[in-house]
Symmetry: C2
Subunit: 150 residues, 2 copies
């Protein structure tokens, strides 16, 4: 798996938050219900996003979480790095310590090319764009009388 489950949950939740135009706080319960993810587990994952300052949280009635900055200022990469760390950027595909230009593994060059594309996509694609795309996909789906994924 490219992304851990925690990371996938974080992505799905933050895209869902971005897709709610609402400026106020959204409860994690609402998110977990809508995404079919365990409330407690999602809470933990979103806590990490809050620590990473991608989300703001607020306790008590009318509390919840919301994006800490505009959706187009939070990239796919921001979320991935907050949860899974920088493995995509720094780690060797064969897990070899010290792999790099000066000491490349047998897959280093071939993988570097692909990795760069992935990193670029993650850096360029942001929550606003993903949320917009999600809407598009869902409206397309509605026409074919199915439910779209997220």
């Amino acid at each position: 798996m490219l992304l851990s489950k925690s990371c996938i949950y974080a992505l799905r939740a933050s895209v869902l938050i971005a897709s709610k135009k609402n400026d106020g706080f959204i409860t994690i319960r609402e998110l977990s219900d809508e995404l079919n993810i365990s409330f407690h587990f999602l809470t933990k994952v979103l806590q990490e996003l809050t620590k990473a300052e991608l989300l703001e949280s607020y306790k008590g009635p009318n509390g919840g979480v919301k994006l800490a900055r505009p959706a187009n200022k939070i990239t796919f990469m921001d979320v991935v790095e907050s949860i899974d760390g920088d493995y995509m950027i720094n780690e060797c595909v064969l897990g070899l310590p010290g792999c790099g230009v000066m000491k490349p593994c047998a897959l280093h060059d071939q993988w570097s090319v692909l990795k760069t594309d992935i990193i670029n996509m993650m850096n360029e694609y942001n929550l606003e764009a993903i949320a917009k795309n999600r809407e598009l996909q869902r409206s397309f789906e509605r026409k074919s009388a199915q439910f779209a994924n997220l």
Copy 2:
């Protein structure tokens, strides 16, 4: 992590086997020593490659494992699929069941492009080519008085 540790071990070992021009069987002990991988764990991993008919094994003195077909007929993908399954090919990057052209997730299209490149690389790159590349990297390294990775 893109590849599981088992898969990484399988790749490193099969590339090492391919890089030994030797036509006979190579003991797993020799491989595990050279790669610094636990002998017993590597044994299990290579058993899976044997079951998948990428390797042939032979017991007893002068036994060991060897490639079941020429190194250029075993692809990166063959090894990955034998150990990690076809997640790279079939699974959604967000882990959503049923994600596909008819019911795409918010990342489906962007990811599809990258995934295709990865799959192509894995299908085109084979053990002979990887082993050759490994030699190249190592000779380059020897000049800079370091040890190359694998």
